[in-house]
């Protein structure tokens, strides 16, 4: 196993171009587990930690600025520094592993691993994030919905690296919910995120760990945009919330595995989606 240590982003891109087989490593909280458990040792590791600029975040230019979260920003920093703008993502980040994992692990690392169970994916889907991928050939922005290609597969080309992820700041209440086999240190049995956009009167959704890839629940989103009484006071209509939950569950394609059964996942998603909508809506009233 070769260990490549670029000093700058340009070096990193050049190394990745020369060694498409190299696995990028940032916090290592995914990659190292694979290596330690002998689930396949990469031929080379490309350590992005020395590239200091990756650990910064900034605002993008333009009429609708987004938060550009560098590939080296850890969950701990994301929660502390960006939680005000990205509450759903921060809420999901708080459920990632343990404090030690969050001190080291990064959201972009989660994207690179593209595990269907990654906690960061549902809120990214719900808020319509963009993945900034770059290679020596150039930069492209991949809409998050097009990024996940299959179990642990993403849309990156062999020479591409993720430089950052662009996330729109919340335009309304957001909520993330997750069930696991215990209360901490768990990979999700299934998870769900909802982001309400009160100005545009629509909702984004994201489902985790209940399909080969993280995915949105399009029909549920359309249902809310059309049926939710966006001006209404008081709690969300229970029948509407239940229907929303059902539509979210219908969007999932879960399997049975060691963490949970498909029917449980579908059921739990319906419950979580209904509750998450209720919680998010209640937050709006405050």
């Amino acid at each position: 196993m070769d260990f490549l240590r670029p000093a700058t982003w340009e070096d990193a891109l050049a190394m990745k171009a020369a060694r498409p087989d190299a696995t990028p490593i940032q916090g290592g909280t995914d990659v190292m587990v694979e290596i330690n458990l002998d689930k396949g040792r990469p031929t080379a590791l490309l350590d992005l930690n020395p590239v200091a600029e990756l650990s910064r975040w900034s605002w993008t230019a333009g009429p609708a600025p987004m938060l550009r979260v560098g590939a080296g920003v850890t969950y701990t920093r994301l929660i502390a520094e960006l939680g005000g703008w990205l509450p759903g993502l921060a809420q999901a980040s708080r459920t990632v592993g343990s404090p030690q994992i969050r001190n080291r692990g990064t959201l972009v690392g989660n994207l690179g691993a593209a595990s269907p169970a990654g906690d960061g994916h549902p809120p990214l889907l719900a808020s319509g994030a963009l993945v900034e991928a770059e290679s020596v050939r150039g930069t492209r922005l991949i809409p998050i919905g097009e990024f996940y290609m299959g179990v642990k597969r993403n849309a990156l080309e062999g020479d591409e690296l993720i430089r950052a992820v662009h996330v729109p700041p919340a335009a309304g209440p957001q909520c993330f919910a997750k069930v696991g086999t215990r209360n901490a240190m768990v990979i999700a049995v299934c998870s769900f995120a909802v982001a309400l956009d009160l100005r545009a009167r629509r909702a984004g959704t994201g489902i985790g760990s209940a399909a080969p890839t993280p995915r949105r629940a399009h029909a549920a989103e359309e249902f809310l945009a059309g049926e939710l009484d966006w001006d209404g006071a008081g709690p969300v209509d229970p029948a509407l919330a239940r229907r929303f939950g059902e539509l979210v569950a219908e969007a999932a394609a879960p399997i049975d595995d060691v963490r949970g059964r498909a029917d449980y996942r579908r059921h739990a998603l319906a419950v979580m989606a209904r509750r998450a909508l209720g919680w998010a809506w209640a937050e709006r009233e405050v």
Binding site: M32, V33, P99, Q100, T181, V186, D263
Partner: protein, 932 residues
């Protein structure tokens, strides 16, 4: 492997420059290259937190960081904390937040960071902050209290009666504990096993050429190399049992996925693992025997073809006519089933051995992670052929065991044999995957019982049919423990008639080993079934227990199996728990919450009876202690025990100090070295307080007899007038006349420089010493998600005279959390081909801080008729808790007609129960589990 790279970093304030392979993790770099062994490895997948270090100001998991990634970093380990962690270290010491100590350095690192981030954390903050640091011993109670106390000393619960802090803690807090992986003599070679991934089949090819050719590989052993040289691998109690032979490596057949096929010896552990991957193996799979129920009758698929049956043991006690009539004709007859899942002990420290054979001296020295050093010595001698007097076993610190390490495992013995064959020093540290798939499993019992009751709910008799899955090979005394479940099934109840059938079967699964209460199923099954009986006859489970539990004036009570129950307080503990829980109030609240808010609350009670220190269980029914007076007047106690977190060095010192009336600090306990200590039983089976404690007392009495004689000469008075008093031997009639222990030691040493005042004490346990406890809890079940939250947890227990209340509570709290794990979370699982699915601590979910309830204790101290009046209590917590939590969940579910009969009660199982209730009952009270 690529060439080595240079890395520079600062470790504990000192600059370090080294050449490392890029594959080396920071944890291994710190441990192996820097010899900083406080940082421990226990999962290597970022779940357990034992390897937590601080890197550039934030805690990270050093198993998930490569050493080369720490280039330029500032790294701190527990060894470097010194005074920095003092308040937390002191608090962990004071609050008994340490047992085996394996997780302690990680707790110190993360706890320190937590206190920096949140100087005044709430209990919830502490639990969230430490959720990534697993502890399998303490139930987290002492740890959470310690962090709170470190933040606010005024919040400390304060000194408890006779509960001195543990003397094991100092070295563990300083990161100077010595676990087996910390032992690395120069020239140590590393061992890795190739294991079967197939549950049953015939080995058709095993090609080791490529592995042998790998640079750095010293040897590759297969069955052909080692099996012919191996002596009897069975543990001492099973030596005379008729069993199929147990051999180091699978020769032609494999019988479970995880069975060792070959052993590689190489220069480092990564190389050894790489070489294992190069061995080519082909196994022709056969359909495995997996279901214990089906295995009984199955004569086509056999774990051992030569035996003609999968039935391993069968023991039936006759159903006499009176019982038969009761079971057929009693006014109320209830049948109940209880199934307990397959579990794993999962101590934080896996198994391991460092074995060294010196061909010149013929001596074999082995460091093991073991509860029972002398048994390890005997077993290693038998297997390796090295005479016992030339085998030395040491085991200083053991990172938890819970029964797993009481009998020496096949793998450790195989490594010791390989060391003998090679004449080298070999180290094998079990990976977590091996630990969860090949070290030994626990439980997997099915009980079906029939209870006969009269109209008033008094139990007239019962019958238990008990089936136990032993896995592919019997380990330890488990085969002998199974029938005991039936023997003690009636427990603390007035049940005049009882009979049972016990059967154990072999399956193509990991062998079953000892785990916290090998007969725990008696408590688990009975208490779960009693609730089922109560529901069937329409009586509150507390009331049913009140009508049947033995009261103080009924003791001694002869159980139907002729075992005599005495010096126990089941009725009193039951009432204590009912009162603490405010039982009638909980029932009212339960009904109100269901009616008004649709919420499901449940209350559960379980009475446990723990048979400890069993006098018929050779060779662990007895122990020997040696006491020696040193020249400075201090006393050294040499014990055969092993340090698994039970605080033996503290409690046994307390016993000796009390007997001799010397200062606690004047007594030192030496254990875990077969050369230094007399032969004995080790630590296990809840026997230390009674058996080892009584051996200490016997030795103290012997020492006092000699000391009194000597003192009498000194003082010029008859020996009868001499008594130990506050560290000296004094004349009863003249308070001023006394002689110190140091003076006596010097008197003896005058006979020769090596002469010491010393005494040996022996003790053999009486047939049975019972302890008892009642557990009670309140839970809430989420009706939609099937999740369970424990609201309150109360334990009223009677372990006789407590030596150290905090050690007692620590044992119970740890047991309770393992019971909660068994009730709700933990299950070892296989797929339909018998391949393990739970291979790491991410999949095998042991409880974190967030599942651990705060426990309220009530102590009743009814002395046992043994010298100290103690009773064993190390195992009952787990059995009581499992049944108690199960009963609470079942109670909640019963309100809506849902029923459960097996653990773990995971959300999917609970929702299935709701669904079945919905389809049975005309009034579906529960939401359907699935929209489909």
């Amino acid at each position: 492997m690529a060439e080595r790279m240079t890395v520079e970093m600062k470790v504990n304030g000192r600059p370090v420059r080294a050449e490392v392979s890029p594959r080396t993790s920071l944890a291994d770099f710190l441990r192996e290259e820097r010899r900083l062994t406080a940082t421990q490895l226990a999962c290597e997948e970022g779940v357990c937190g034992a390897c937590t270090v601080s890197m550039d100001g934030a805690t990270v998991l050093s198993c998930l960081v490569l050493a080369v990634q720490a280039e330029g970093a500032e790294v701190w380990t527990a060894e470097g904390l010194d005074g920095a962690a003092a308040p937390l270290a002191e608090a962990l010491h004071a609050e008994h937040g340490i047992q085996c100590g394996y997780c302690t350095p990680g707790i110190l690192m993360r706890g320190g960071e937590l206190l920096k981030e949140q100087p005044a954390p709430s209990e919830r903050d502490i639990r969230l902050g430490l959720c990534g640091n697993l502890c399998r011993c303490t139930g987290y109670a002492g740890i959470v209290e310690a962090v709170a106390a470190a933040a606010d000393p005024a919040a400390a619960p304060g000194e408890r009666g006779a509960a001195p802090a543990r003397r094991e803690d100092e070295r563990l807090l300083a990161g100077r504990g010595e676990f087996v992986n910390d032992v690395s003599p120069p020239g140590t070679l590393h061992v890795a096993f190739l294991r079967s991934t197939v549950a049953a089949g015939r080995i058709t090819r095993l090609e080791t050429g490529a592995a042998r050719a790998l640079e750095g590989v010293v040897a590759v052993f297969t069955a052909a190399d080692l099996n012919p040289r191996a002596g009897d691998m069975r543990p001492t109690p099973l030596l005379n049992a008729a069993e199929p032979p147990l051999l180091p490596l699978a020769a032609d057949r494999v019988r479970f996925a995880g069975e060792p096929l070959a052993l590689v010896v190489a220069g480092d552990r990564y190389l050894a693992a790489d070489a294992v991957d190069l061995i080519e193996v082909e196994i022709e799979p056969e359909p495995p025997v997996l279901d214990p129920g089906g295995a009984v009758e199955d004569t086509d698929r056999l774990v051992y073809a030569e035996t003609g049956s999968n039935l391993y043991q069968e023991l039936t006690s006759p159903i006499r006519p009176k019982l038969r009539r009761a079971l057929e004709d009693a006014p109320q007859v209830v049948r109940a089933t209880s199934r307990q899942q397959r579990q794993a002990n999962a101590p934080l420290e896996t198994r391991g051995v460092v074995a060294s054979y010196d061909p010149d001296t013929g001596e074999l020295v082995a460091s093991l992670s073991t509860q029972n050093p002398h048994e390890a010595k005997l077993a290693i001698s038998r297997v390796s052929g090295v005479p016992a007097e030339q085998v030395r076993v040491t085991a200083r610190d053991v990172g938890g065991s819970f029964g797993l390490k009481v009998w020496t495992g096949r793998d450790e013995l195989t490594v010791a044999l390989a060391a003998r064959v090679l004449g080298r020093t070999l180290k094998w540290i079990e990976t977590r995957q091996e630990n969860l798939t090949a070290s030994g499993h626990a439980r997997m019992d099915v009980g079906e019982a029939t209870f006969a009751l009269d109209e008033q709910g008094r139990i007239l008799g019962c019958h238990l049919d008990h089936l136990e899955d032993t896995g592919a090979y019997p380990l330890g005394v488990v085969g002998k423990a199974g029938p005991f479940v039936g023997m003690v099934f009636t427990g603390p109840y007035r049940i005049p008639l009882h009979a049972f059938r016990f059967r154990s079967v072999r399956t193509n699964t990991c062998p079953r080993g000892a785990y916290r209460g090998p007969w725990a199923f008696a408590t688990v099954a009975r208490e779960q079934m009693l609730d089922e009986v109560a529901r069937a006859v329409g009586m509150d489970p507390l009331e049913l227990r009140r009508r049947n539990v033995l009261g103080p004036d009924e003791l001694p009570y002869t159980m139907p199996t002729r075992l005599v129950l005495d010096h126990v307080t089941p009725a009193q503990t039951l009432e204590e728990v009912a009162a603490r829980l405010d039982y009638p109030e909980v029932r009212l609240r339960q009904r109100r919450l269901l009616a008004e808010e649709g919420r499901l609350i449940g209350v559960g009670i379980a009475i446990g009876l723990e048979p400890s220190s069993i006098g018929t269980m050779q060779p662990i029914d007895r122990d020997t202690a040696r006491l020696r007076v040193e020249l400075d007047g201090t006393i050294t106690a040499y014990l055969a025990t092993g340090a698994g977190g039970q605080g033996v060095e503290t409690t046994m010192a307390q016993v000796v100090a009390a007997e001799l009336d010397v200062d606690l600090d004047a007594v030192r306990v030496v254990q875990g070295d077969t050369d230094a200590t007399p032969y004995g039983r080790g630590t296990g089976a809840s026997g230390t307080a009674v058996i080892t404690g009584s051996a200490c007392r016997a030795a103290a009495a012997e020492l006092l007899t000699m000391a009194k004689e000597l003192a009498a000469e000194h003082l010029g008075v008859p020996a009868e007038r001499v008594e130990p008093r506050r560290g000296v031997l004094a004349d009863r009639q003249d308070p001023g006349a006394a002689v110190s222990w140091a003076e006596l030691a010097k008197t003896v040493s005058a006979h020769g420089p090596g002469e010491r005042l010393e005494a040996l004490g022996r003790y053999k346990a009486p047939p049975m010493t019972w302890s008892n406890a009642c557990h009670g809890c309140v839970v809430e079940v989420d009706r939609e998600l099937g999740t369970v939250r424990i609201e309150r947890y109360v334990v009223a227990e009677d372990c006789g005279r407590m030596i150290n209340a905090k050690v007692v509570e620590g044992q119970i709290a740890g047991g309770v959390l393992q019971g909660i794990g068994g009730a709700l979370l933990e299950e070892v699982r296989y797929d339909a081909q018998g391949r393990p699915l739970t291979r790491g601590l991410a999949e095998y979910a042991v409880p974190t801080t967030l599942e651990a309830p705060a426990i309220e204790f009530v102590h009743i101290e009814t002395p046992s008729p043994t010298p100290g009046g103690h009773k064993g209590m190390g195992q009952g917590g787990a059995a009581g808790a499992l049944a108690c939590v199960f009963n609470a969940v079942a109670d909640a579910l019963a309100q809506v007609g849902a029923r459960v009969d097996r653990t773990p009660l995971d959300p999917a199982r609970i929702l299935t129960a709701f669904a079945e209730a919905g389809s049975r009952s005309p009034r579906p009270a529960a939401r359907p589990p699935s929209p489909s």
